[in-house]
């Protein structure tokens, strides 16, 4: 058995192999802990996601799910006094090292937030600015933008008004635009922080299917409160919980196992809806 | 876009155009950073009367900086303009900021000539004073105040706070509002000297800085009494400001009486220099003391010194 997997098992106390032996996971954290000033928000999180799979993170509010997500692309750098310890590897490369460039990292690890946050610019410039930023040639720009917007199924809706303000789009459209914006940078990993919770049911469906289909090209970590959604799309799953005021993982592994036969009694209660 | 905002836009566009026109209208806006003789000429073209100015008298040239008293500055600036018209290669910059600035700048060499509206003090012994004009100081009251004359004793009593109501002096039943000048002012010094007062014993209700402030204060307050420059008073009375001057002793505060030396409370307006004078300084001071500038002195409501 892979020594890494053993480690993660022994920490989380959960069962089941996270990865096929011999295949290095795309994204992996070991003994990850995050502190804000003197307050510890997250401790001892060891998880791994194989290439082209979806890890769904569930758990009650305030147990460090978003903090975990933010540390994966080092958005935690933006918070003063925030310290991240442990190890995070993306494609076997340690990203907490000082020589890892966070900007490049964030191109490789895209992120979509709970609330759609398009820039107050035109639809087109929302994609063009990050592309330009990452050195995309002007000649490729238009085709990449079209491809990305098409990928999220928005092309037919906006192709005639690419210069319209992005904020004039509906909520679902805005969220898809944000996904397109991230996809245009060809990320290897995508982080979704409750991407559907601010959307209407129809848009939820569209976005959910979109995320499920993205599995073909990127590795995905998604935080969601919607257990049914997690069941539908996840390959891997992790349950976060707050113990002594500190967030940690109480159950993790393949989705079928976590949702089908959780070991931890609290996780079991939460997943069956008998909690809170 | 609403029609209203369209209108606004049009109006503001017009305004910007007008502004640019205004700038362009100032003829000869010179290229910045380039000292061109063209620029000079165009600026003097703006002055009517240039053409009938006398021909240059001597080949004087150079630059002279004059700084100091804000009372003297407008007069000095006018003298400088006329002097520049006669000597095309001379440039005189007049700067203001108070008598002390003039004296400090002359001592440090920053200015060729300093302006002072007061006598030099013992600290300033090394400097030479050149009297260019005289200014009288007179008491003023509100136009409606029935008290026409005040004896020196009455003035002293008022300023010492021993008389606190105009009725004691034959006026209306109004409390006297005593207006005094700020410490260091030349008018204060000559006023104190003349009446033998000490600034510490004056019971002032209001303290003012400049002459104009004193005049406005009295014009707006029927029971106030102040002392200001006679020139300023004449100008204001001509304009119909609600003030009236009060004779000192039996001498009416008029420019004639100041000129003839009859009027007792006066201060000199001085040019101050340090050490040897160069040609330009000498020429300008001679010019400033010559009859050629009498009209300028009178236009500023000052009195040419007795020559």
């Amino acid at each position: 058995m892979d020594p890494l997997v053993q480690l993660s098992e022994s920490v989380s106390g959960s069962s089941g192999p996270v990865c096929e032996p011999g295949i290095a996971p795309m994204l992996e954290t070991r003994e990850l802990s995050v502190t804000y000033g003197s307050r510890r928000a997250l401790s001892g999180v060891s998880l791994a996601v194989p290439r082209h799979q979806i890890l769904a993170i569930v758990g009650p509010s305030g147990c460090g799910k978003s903090t975990f997500l933010n540390s994966l692309n080092r958005l935690t750098d933006l918070t003063p006094n925030c310290r991240v310890e442990g190890s995070i590897r993306v494609d076997n490369e340690e990203i907490l090292n000082a020589d890892c460039d966070p900007m490049t990292l964030r191109r490789r690890v895209g992120m979509v937030f709970q609330k759609p946050n398009p820039f107050p610019l035109s639809i087109c410039r929302n994609l063009a600015i990050p592309l330009k930023e990452h050195g995309c040639a002007k000649s490729d720009m238009d085709s990449i933008i079209e491809e990305a917007i098409s990928d999220v199924g928005l092309w037919d809706e906006v192709k005639d008004r690419l210069n319209a303000p992005a904020l004039s789009l509906s909520g679902g459209q805005q969220q898809r635009l944000c996904i397109a914006r991230a996809l245009a940078l060809r990320p290897e990993v995508m982080l979704f922080d409750e991407p559907c919770s601010a959307l209407d049911p129809f848009s939820i469906n569209v976005v959910e299917q979109l995320i499920a289909s993205l599995r073909e090209r990127v590795t995905i970590v998604i935080v969601t409160h919607n257990l049914a959604q997690a069941r539908r799309i996840a390959d891997q799953a992790a349950v976060f919980w707050q113990r002594d005021g500190v967030g940690t993982v109480i159950e993790s592994g393949p989705a079928t196992l976590v949702f089908g036969a959780p070991q931890d009694p609290e996780a079991a209660a939460y997943l069956s809806g008998h909690c809170c | 876009m609403s029609p209203l905002s369209k209108h606004l836009r049009r109006i503001s566009t017009l305004a910007v155009v007008a502004f640019c026109g205004l700038l362009a209208g100032c003829e000869g806006l010179p290229a910045i950073g380039v000292t061109s003789s063209e620029g000079r000429d165009s600026s003097s073209d703006l002055m009517p009367g240039t053409s009938n100015a006398p021909k240059p008298l001597s080949p004087l040239s150079g630059k002279l900086t004059i700084t100091g008293s804000s009372t003297v500055a407008p007069l000095a600036a006018e003298m400088a303009t006329r002097f520049e018209q006669r000597h095309r290669d001379v440039r005189i910059d007049v700067q203001t900021g108070g008598s002390s600035r003039g004296i400090i700048d002359v001592q440090s060499g920053l200015a060729g000539i300093g302006m002072a509206s007061r006598q030099l003090s013992p600290f300033e012994a090394g400097l030479t004073a050149h009297r260019i004009a005289v200014d009288g100081v007179c008491l003023i009251v509100h136009k409606t105040n029935p008290v026409m004359t005040l004896t020196d004793e009455q003035v002293v009593a008022i300023y010492r706070g021993q008389v606190s109501n105009w009725s004691e002096l034959g006026g209306a039943d109004l409390p006297v509002v005593v207006v005094n000048k700020a410490a260091g002012r030349a008018t204060l010094e000559v006023f104190l000297n003349h009446f033998g007062l000490d600034n510490a014993e004056i019971k002032a209700d209001i303290i003012v800085g400049e002459n104009q402030q004193g005049i406005k204060t009295v014009a707006g307050n029927p029971s106030a009494i102040a002392y200001v420059s006679i020139g300023t008073v004449s100008a204001e009375v001509e304009r119909g400001t609600a003030i009236r001057s009060v004779p000192a002793g039996n001498v009416a505060p008029t420019s004639e009486n100041v000129a003839s030396g009859l009027y007792p409370i006066t201060r000199p307006l001085l040019f101050v220099t340090n050490g040897e004078l160069n040609d330009l300084q000498t020429a300008f001071i001679e010019f400033a003391q010559s009859p050629d500038v009498t009209d300028l002195i009178e236009a500023q409501y000052f009195v040419p010194p007795n020559r």
Binding site: - | N199, A200, A204, G220
Partner: protein, 296 residues
């Protein structure tokens, strides 16, 4: 999917970031150093008064009579008090209509009138203080004189100064209110909150920091104001016992006497300027205290 070429751009971006950071830091250092330069200058000019007269006399003498030779006295406490009274009064008087003006522009007035009102306030910001002073002397002081002579008084100073700092308060408050995300107020509206409830519970608290910064700016502007104060305050060196009593502020004193001051007197005037700056610095440190605890 074609990969995007990256390496080159990252280096240049990093350089640009680095250069920009340096530049911004340099401007901040420059901005901070100006006041230090001014402090050095003022201290240098005040040094002879500091050594010859001494700080103690400035704090203990009961009046300001610097030209009286042997009997000279250099008390600045009454003038510091005058500055404080005039400034705090002006901030109080201008604060309410200032913020209300901002509310009107932002929430209550139709856009057209709001724009006009803004323009009026912006113009008010550009009236030279000597014009304010003259107007106060000609219009306001006689009115106050009728209520209670001599008219030139603490009250006149407060009123004129409040007119002068009102634009600062109103425009900064308006900018701060405009910075409140629209989603906040729509969220409040969605909760069934009325317009006022939204303003009071959401907009004002969110914009609080900006509004307070505007007040601070206005207060510092008021304490440094000179010309208008000279005209309307009466300039008697005393701790005022009523609103109708004349006062002299530190800045008015400097403006009135600096022009004709010699030697020791001039140095003493710089020392009063220094005292004012020290007072403001103390005030800023005191005001900065709670902000620090808020952050940590």
């Amino acid at each position: 999917m074609s990969p995007i070429s990256l390496r080159l751009s990252i280096l240049s971006r990093r350089t640009v970031d680095l250069i920009a950071g340096r530049w911004f830091c340099a401007t901040a250092v420059l901005a901070a150093s100006i006041v230090l330069l001014i402090l050095v200058f003022v201290v240098r000019e005040a040094s002879s008064a500091l050594s010859d007269i001494g700080v103690v006399r400035f704090l203990t003498d009961d009046t300001w009579r610097p030209t009286a030779g042997a009997k000279a006295s250099y008390g600045i406490i009454p003038m510091l008090a005058g500055s404080l009274f005039v400034t705090s009064g002006a901030v109080i008087v201008a604060g309410v209509p200032g913020v209300l003006s901002a509310l009107l522009i932002r929430f209550y007035a139709p856009p057209f009138l709001a724009t006009i009102h803004r323009r009026v306030i912006e113009l008010l910001a550009g009236v030279p203080s000597v014009v304010f002073g003259f107007w106060g002397l000609v219009v306001l002081v006689p009115i106050i004189n009728r209520l209670h002579p001599p008219g030139q008084s603490l009250l006149a100073g407060i009123l004129i100064l409040s007119l002068m700092i009102l634009p600062t308060i109103a425009l900064t408050a308006e900018a701060a209110l405009r910075g409140v995300p629209a989603s906040y107020s729509s969220a409040a509206a969605a909760l069934g909150m009325g317009r006022w409830a939204t303003i009071w519970n959401v907009s004002l608290p969110v914009a609080r920091r900006g509004i307070l910064a505007g007040f601070l700016l206005a207060a510092t502007r008021a304490i440094g104001e000179t010309m208008a104060v000279v005209m309307v305050c009466g300039n008697i060196v005393q701790v005022p016992d009523s609103l109708f009593a004349p006062v002299r502020t530190v800045t008015a004193n400097i403006a009135m006497e600096m022009g004709d001051a010699q030697a020791e007197h001039r140095s003493a005037l710089f020392l009063t300027g220094l005292a004012l700056m020290v007072l403001v610095a103390l005030f800023l440190i005191a005001a900065g205290g709670p902000r620090r605890s808020e952050v940590s």
